[in-house]
């Protein structure tokens, strides 16, 4: 925008208008000044939640608990504790389990004593790596017994039922792909 000044300084009125135009785009940024988008509640709603949408949203907006996804099956509670303690004191961690095998199936809940600490986790730990994997955090309405189990048909998470890729840290191929392997692999020797 430096070129702007060179072109227009002769004409006060026109340059004033251009300047105001620039300023208005800056003003759009003003609302951005209070933006805290990393802390916003996502579109996801728990289909098994006991209560209506309004109640769920209220709980999400006051929650101290985060859902953490895309964990390796081998990631331990200790590792989760170490990472998430960087944003504040952790009250408890519940490792998500395969409903059948009762082994870790790649997600967990992290509950903080203070919501502010959970917000910091959303701002600074969400989207960074744990066990070399980019993990994702989202607000959770609060842990209830039973929610620590995967909801996929095979016992793990739903996402691991249908995915086509090979992920060694999450049991290899997706469950469906394991039963019906892709055509190419059947033909390789």
């Amino acid at each position: 925008w430096l070129r702007l000044w060179n072109l227009t300084w002769f004409w006060f009125d026109e340059s004033f208008i251009l300047f105001v135009a620039y300023f208005s785009t800056m003003s759009a940024k003003l609302s951005a000044l209070h933006s805290d988008s990393y802390v916003e509640v996502s579109q996801y709603r728990d289909q098994h939640f006991k209560g209506n949408r309004k109640e769920q949203e209220k709980l999400l907006n006051q929650s101290n608990t985060l859902y953490v996804g895309n964990l390796s099956f081998y990631t331990t509670e200790e590792q989760v504790h170490e990472l998430f303690s960087k944003s504040g004191d952790v009250k408890r961690i519940i490792i998500g389990l395969d409903k059948v095998k009762k082994t870790a199936c790649g997600f967990c809940f992290v509950e903080y004593y203070a919501r502010g600490d959970a917000e910091h986790a959303m701002r600074f730990i969400n989207g960074t790596r744990l066990d070399d994997r980019i993990i994702r955090t989202d607000w959770d309405a609060g842990f209830k017994e039973g929610r620590q189990y995967g909801r996929g048909k095979s016992g793990g998470q739903v996402r691991d039922e249908y995915r086509q890729d090979y992920d060694p840290a999450r049991g290899g191929y997706g469950k469906l792909a394991q039963q019906h392997p892709p055509v190419e692999s059947r033909n390789t020797y």
């Binding site: 620039y22 990393y38 331990t76 408890r92 910091h120 600074f124």
Partner: protein
Amino acid sequence: MQKVARLLPEKLTVYTTLVGLLNARNYNFGGEFVEAMIRQLKETLKNNLYNEAVYLVRFLSDLVNCHVIAAPSMVAMFENFVSVTQEEDVPQVRSDWFVYVVLSCLPWVGKELYEKKDVEMDRLLSQIEGYLKRRVKTHVQMLQVWTAEKPHPQEEYLDCLWAQIQKLKKDRWQERHILRPYIAFDSVLCEALQHNLPPFTPPGHMPDAQYPMPRVVFRMFDYTDAPEGPVMPGSHSVERFVIEENLHCIIKTHWKERKTCAAQLLSYPGKNKIPLNYHIVEVIFGELFQLPTPPHIDVLYTTLLIELCKLQPGSLPQVLAQATEMLYMRLDTMNTTCIDRLINWFSHHLSNFQFRWSWDDWADCLTVDLEKPKPKFVKEVLEKSMRLSYHQRIVDIVPPTFSVLIPAEPIFIYKYLDETASTLPGYQLSITLGNAIKNRATNEEILTILKEVPNPNQEDDDDEGESFNPLKIDVFLQTLLHLAAKSFSHSFSALAKFHEILKTLADSDEGKLHTLKVIYEVWRNHPQMIAVLVDKMIRTQIVDCAAVANWLFSQDMAHEFTRLYIWEILHSTIRKMNKHVQKIQKELEEAKDKLEKQQLKRDMDKNSEDEDGQLEEQIERLQEKVESAQSEQKNLFLVIFQRFIMLLTEHLVRCETGSVDISTPWYKNCVDRLQQIFLMHHVTIQQYMGTLENLLFTAELDHHILAVYQQFCALQL
């Protein structure tokens, strides 16, 4: 517009230009705007928002450049500010602030003011010079990241700014870095009518005023460090000041949105003329290492640097690696608190980049005493890295020569593991207990078993076996924790299930101390587990904060005294104590408010007084609770400081009698840790200064120890 002045200070010249143009068109608008800004300035000062007030004054001063405000009236305001240095019996930080405001505006408006009022400005500057010479600078040492003067002196912030302004003056106020849009509109603006600032008397000093604390300027780079490309402005150039100011402002504005923050930092105007990556890295580390505390939560800086690396993958990682290398090389003189933060940053950073690092470059750390800062740093980094991954990973990522620095495998050490322990007094009982717990015995059944444990401290058992019995604690806790060793959750469940028993066993000061001792013995290879168990035990009141402090300072833990996890446990303990006091104080305030509201209602409604009575009783109980909590808090600090004094005095006396140099790595660590207690909890400690001075930090104390206390007091002068 005013909001913008406060919140986007790095773009202030854009907005002052706009105000200038509007003023040129409409004189009244200019007048109203200036009046509104003055009102806002008064408000922010009244509300202790000194950092915001700086931006407001800077905005006003730039309005002089836009012909909105007449230069002489700005000079008059500055004169009023500087006259605060003549006030008597005020904290130094008060006059510091007023001098800082004036100096920090001069890069923007110095030229214009000097052109119009050079005599007055000279007088102003000479007054400031006199003040700066008189200032007490006891606090500087406590705030320096490095104790060494080379390669970059860690300057007190006012001294540095003064040197920068002096240089600017010598350069005849030619400042070329700040973007000044108003220059392009000069022909229009110079026709505008200017306003005079109303005379502004700085508000007087109030006892509850909280002036900003003094700072030390963080420098780690100079022009020799950026190999090619634009040259880094010198440490005393005003450009350096403006760039650093603006980068700090950008972080302050966008800290909540790391992607935006990184993008804004990297699109800093004029970036082609400066080695921007170096400035950014320096500013970020400057904040991370700031003493007493960083402006933002530590993890922000880790994530921000990662975002920057993502946006500039071809250049920023190299600068960061260079910075890390430099920080490693200067560890010997780095403040221990800053080393802590470096350890946490580096290990977390590495965990996002597959722990790739050229460890061999640091092989020199293996050739010195392992207690020295460099090997200690590497050891702690590997320990933290292991916590974020697993033991074998660490073995794999370092060269075999580094094996001496690899942390121990975090496994449980069970005293009663097998038959080899059969001669130990508690062995048989550990088996009985273990089976009982596995078979879900009730608390009563467990207690019955425990009654059988002989007390090595007594000739014969007393009736209930209630007194302190170290063997009972040992057998029960070792067996329980062994069964629950699988994970944090398992151990927490165990503590919860047998909470009553544990509380009873630990029911004396000795009991609490012994409980902590046992936890250490079984989990000494897993410091992370020790920390979470101690945390849980404090929260469930099995042990109290003072017990933890006494345990950490005990002879049994002396060999661990310089390890990072010890201090993390201690600071976490102090924080829990502080939060506890705050919580009860809040409950008391709320109850008092409730009573007030109720009394008001009663006066109007003439309702019953029963509720009042209940509330009053509750308030009385809460009052007692607050006093008791504060007493516990004060006692905790007394215990900690007392222990420090004992340890340090012992060391100093021993060195003196042996004619040995006091400056061992242990000593430096210990003094830095004492300092750290003051710095990290200064808000709380302020309340107890009187007691501390009367009981502990008296004139009889060795001057080495007293110096730490005096430096701390100097922070608030």
